[in-house]
């Protein structure tokens, strides 16, 4: 039996890199230190692989690659989409394919943390790596996120409990604020919980900005409250901000998917910038899929834009909404799709999925999922971080190399994408 140390978990944006995995006879026998989800993901990484299928019939890998290349080569306005749970090496291949076939290129952040990414285009973001939170943060704000259930080791490894360089007492050295629309296991861990009415992120951030900048908002109707929370509580939050040495605000989909999306995050981002006039303050997006940040990074260095790119003119054009996956599918604009390392059948709105079922879809995934039953071409791939190596970007942009511990009968995403690319190139030349 071999024990692999320092294994990087690929499940969520935390990329915990301290796992221990026992392997015997090319099978995962035990996973230690991971959270329940991470452990499950690795333990079952090799199970439930789909068969290679073309139009519902089993096929050889060569035939599937050939059919994929044919579909993509003939499509007039294809979509290349996904990438959030595979390596940046595979993501780089996907951008190349999208360019070759003049496709639309998008990733799941366009309907998750995309508004936060767009806010960074408008205002920028003051941020830090997770170690700064661990070592310095004496004020932690969780806003619209619930890491206890979604990023299960975030609190122990990074944000709440760890004993850092300048936070030797761990949790005792930190003040903790939670802002959410309902009580969650995370809000229960906070010193101050502000339960807000839904849809008011922009107002909250605006009022906090005003107070941080020493302005007193006026209330016409005499009711001194914002988002259902009395001003007194917001003043208290601002006092805590101004009294801390190094604050870190973690925001989740509750902020990015609030009504009016990107302007909310922009205002939150401006709040963090303002706070730096008094103290040091950073914000971090609680990215979900293991390498969804990697999609944004790779797309940005290759195309200039983190999401929603169109190559129909040969050069990258970026327009969220016009080239974002959900609106494009809602408008029924694309005529074929290459979907890798995400499960649109599970994640996208029903109408979008219904439309996808009417066009040729090529799908690469390590497992049977809610897309594989109806996708036109299904190619099983080796699970990254278990049977394929490559690079993942943590929620704070720290890149880590995920490992190969066992052999899969299937090739990696990267290898399949390279084969499809070569086939498209070959067909185009002949």
């Amino acid at each position: 039996m071999t024990t692999h140390d320092n294994v990087v978990c690929t499940f969520c944006g935390c990329l915990c890199d301290d796992l221990e995995v026992d392997v015997e006879d090319n099978a995962i026998k035990a996973v230690r230190k991971a959270c329940l989800i991470g452990k499950n993901k690795i333990m079952n990484a090799l199970s439930h692989a789909p068969a290679i299928r073309v139009n519902g019939r089993e096929a050889s890998l060569g035939a599937a690659v050939e059919e994929a290349a044919r579909i993509l080569g003939e499509a007039k306005n294809p979509l290349v989409y996904g990438m959030s749970s595979t390596t940046s090496e595979a993501q780089r291949e996907m951008v190349d394919i999208a360019e070759m076939i003049r496709a639309n290129l998008d990733n799941p952040s366009s309907y998750c943390h995309g508004p936060g990414v767009l806010a960074r285009q408008q205002a920028g973001l003051v941020t830090c790596t997770l170690g700064e939170a661990k070592n310095r943060a004496d004020l932690v704000i969780y806003w619209g996120c619930n890491p206890v259930e979604a990023h299960m080791r975030h609190l122990t490894r990074y944000s709440l409990q760890p004993k850092g360089l300048y936070t030797p007492e761990g949790r005792k050295d930190r003040k903790v604020v939670a802002i959410d629309i309902r009580q969650t296991p995370t809000t229960k861990r906070a010193d101050l919980f502000l339960q807000v009415t839904p849809g008011h992120t922009f107002e909250i951030a605006s009022v906090l900005r005003a107070l941080v900048n020493g302005l007193e908002p006026e209330f016409q109707d005499g009711r001194e409250e914002v988002a259902g929370v009395p001003m007194e509580s917001w003043r208290r939050v601002v006092e805590m901000i101004k009294a801390c040495k190094y604050g870190v605000l973690f925001f989740g989909l509750g902020v990015t998917q609030c009504r009016n999306t990107d302007i909310n995050v922009e205002q939150v981002s401006r709040l963090v910038q303002d706070a730096n006039k008094h103290v040091r303050f950073s914000a971090l997006a609680m990215r979900g899929h293991g390498n969804v940040n990697g999609c944004n990074q790779v797309m940005t260095w290759q195309t200039g834009f983190p999401l929603a790119v169109n190559f129909s003119r040969g050069f990258p054009r970026h327009n969220p909404g016009e080239y974002s996956v959900v609106p494009m599918l809602a408008r029924q604009e694309v005529d074929a799709a290459l979907i890798v390392a995400t499960d649109p059948g599970a994640h996208l709105p029903a109408d979008a999925v219904r439309f996808l079922k009417t066009i040729p879809v090529i799908h690469l995934d390590p497992h049977e999922n809610l897309t594989t039953p109806w996708a036109t071409v299904v190619i099983p791939v080796a699970p990254v971080g278990v049977a394929a190596a490559g690079t993942f970007y943590r929620m704070d942009n720290v890149p880590l190399r995920v490992k190969k511990m066992v052999e899969s009968p299937h090739p990696s995403d990267e290898d399949v994408l390279k084969a499809i690319k070569e086939k498209i190139r070959h067909v185009a030349h002949t």
Binding site: S88, G124, T129, G131, L165, W301
Partner: protein
């Protein structure tokens, strides 16, 4: 074999100054033509370089082109990408951007100016994989990156050691380990101590401001790291971005830093940003003359200029507190990122305008430095891309240096008070073609310790740029007739014709195989990654070439 025939060869490293001749290439390397008959030469594949200047490929010593901070800059400014696009061709990848171009486009743009080697200026080890991944997507260039160490906790922990001899040896080992961990090429120091200070919300660091909580001063940091780089016999000296970048009166800090480092090899980067005097009221004045006077007497030092280019650009640096100051003045976009245990970074868009007095002075200071520092082997052309402007402005800057009348014609476009604040318009010096070849290739190659680059002698890498001679030096240097990378023609008549990938340049210094117990404990306790996952793997290096130490 391939022959570049009948061009005027400018190869200052071999004392060849505009002599007509042939450059002969075999297997990607320049070879001597001495033993070859005329017939053998005639039978070779031949590039006709009649009427052209033949120079070694350009060597970029300081540019921000790859990695976490640069990519954040790309995210921050979609508006600048839209007006600068390139479509995919059968050879080249699509891309966009001018000040922060996408990776492939960066490779093409540099290559189309005749550059063949490039160094990314600031990489924190924790994010080094990212920089290397981007560099792998940057074709046509040999490349390397500098590892930032000037605010590194482990460095400061070592410097706190009261035992002088132990401290020295431990720091040398640590610097070596950090270069290995990040696969870096040189020791980079950015605002020593100052980035850590700002994490404590403290003001700007002076040379003798103790850095909390270590109590180590910037003076100690720079002297010790310069010494470590020397003792490791690294091919490039410590690469230093001094304290107080961009502040009026900062020449005092710059001069004090230089005095503290006398006798050691040091490269002062973007010296323009560190050469400001101040008026009685605290306004900007050029301090270039004083800096140049001192610098001229110290052959152990090299520098690059960081010349201002008028127009919009992005400032991006590991000097996060400087960017915070800039944001407070400009109030536009601001991105910042503190990096645990080792560094920070900041990005603020900016626009330099000739009618803004401060910008006009900055522009003049850069040119003054280039004209007043009399040894071209010690000052190199950079724009600290994209901080002072995009590298695509190099041909314009060359024209400013080579054509005094053209330079004088700028006076009326600048803020009227600039003449009082600088001495630029009293200088008549014009650069020669040979001097341009030195400040853009031969000089940086020598300062970087690249024996096979920056010259055209036998054994050099066959990286060559051929420019058609033209009295308009901007036109001449904007569009090389041929560029060869490793012996392959990659640019013809200003267009890309081949896109081979370059190599990763790295070092293999003595020692640094592991961290000592106490530093390993600090690492394990306070980084959020395991040490095994910190070390950049071989997979991130493209055909690595180890440049020897010593």
């Amino acid at each position: 074999m391939l022959r570049i025939h009948n061009g005027l060869i400018y190869d200052p490293a071999n004392a060849v100054n505009g002599e007509a001749g042939d450059v002969i290439i075999h297997d990607g390397v320049i070879v001597s033509g001495a033993g070859l008959s005329e017939k053998q030469k005639r039978d070779m594949e031949t590039i006709d370089a009649s009427g052209c200047a033949v120079l070694p490929g350009g060597v970029e010593i300081h540019s921000h082109i790859a990695g976490a901070k640069v990519n954040n800059g790309r995210i921050l400014c979609p508006e600048e990408h839209r007006s600068h696009v390139s479509a995919r061709t059968s050879l080249t990848r699509a891309g966009c951007g001018l000040c922060v171009p996408t990776t492939f486009r960066t490779g093409y743009l540099y290559s189309k100016l005749g550059y063949t080697t490039i160094f990314e200026a600031a990489v924190p080890p924790l994010e080094a994989r990212h920089a290397h991944e981007e560099l792998m997507d940057m074709p046509l260039l040999d490349k390397g990156c500098y590892t930032v160490m000037g605010n590194n906790h482990l460095v400061m922990q070592v410097l706190k050691d009261p035992d002088r001899a132990a401290r020295k040896e431990r720091l040398r080992e640590l610097a070596s380990w950090l270069l290995r961990a990040s696969r870096g090429y040189a020791v980079k120091v950015v605002n020593p101590g100052g980035v850590e200070d700002w994490k404590w919300n403290a003001g700007a660091a002076d040379l003798d401001t103790p850095t909390p909580p270590f109590g180590v001063t910037p003076r100690q940091i720079v002297t010790a790291l310069a010494e470590a780089a020397d003792e490791l016999k690294l091919p490039h000296s410590m690469h230093l971005h001094c304290n107080h970048l961009g502040e009026p009166g900062n020449l005092e800090t710059t001069l004090a830093t230089m005095r503290a480092l006398e006798g050691r090899r040091v490269h002062y980067t973007h010296l323009q940003f560190h050469s400001y005097d101040k008026t009685k009221k605290g306004g900007f004045r050029s301090g270039a003359a004083r800096i140049a006077e001192y610098f001229n007497k110290h052959p152990e030092f090299t520098c690059d200029v960081g010349q201002i280019v008028f127009g919009p650009t992005l400032t991006m640096t590991s000097d996060a507190p400087m960017e915070f100051k800039l944001f407070q003045m400009r109030k536009g976009k601001w991105a910042s990122g503190d990096i645990e245990m080792e560094s920070g970074s900041g990005i603020v868009p900016i626009s330099y305008a000739p009618k803004i007095l401060v910008n006009a002075i900055q522009w003049s200071v850069g040119l003054e430095l280039m004209l007043l520092i009399n040894d071209p082997w010690r000052i190199f052309l950079t724009t600290d891309h994209p901080n002072a402007g995009p590298f695509t402005a190099y041909p314009e800057i060359i024209k400013l240096l080579m054509d005094a009348d053209y330079r004088m014609s700028w006076l009326e476009k600048l803020h009227p008070r600039v003449r009082r604040a600088t001495g630029l318009f009293e200088i008549t010096r014009e650069y020669t073609l040979e001097e341009i070849a030195i400040i853009t290739r031969s000089g940086p190659a020598r300062a970087l310790g690249l024996a096979a680059k920056g010259h055209l002698g036998a054994g050099a890498d066959a990286d060559v740029a051929v420019y058609r001679l033209d009295q308009d030096r901007r036109a001449m240097f904007s569009r090389p007739v041929y560029v060869l990378k490793g012996g392959a023609v990659v640019v013809r008549d200003g267009e890309i014709v081949d896109t081979p990938n370059g190599r990763t340049l790295c070092v293999d210094p003595e020692g640094g195989r592991s961290l000592p117990q106490d530093l390993a404990e600090t690492f394990d306790g306070f980084y959020t990654v395991k040490m095994a996952n910190y070390m950049v793997e071989d997979e991130y290096l493209e055909r690595p070439e180890v440049v020897p130490c010593g």
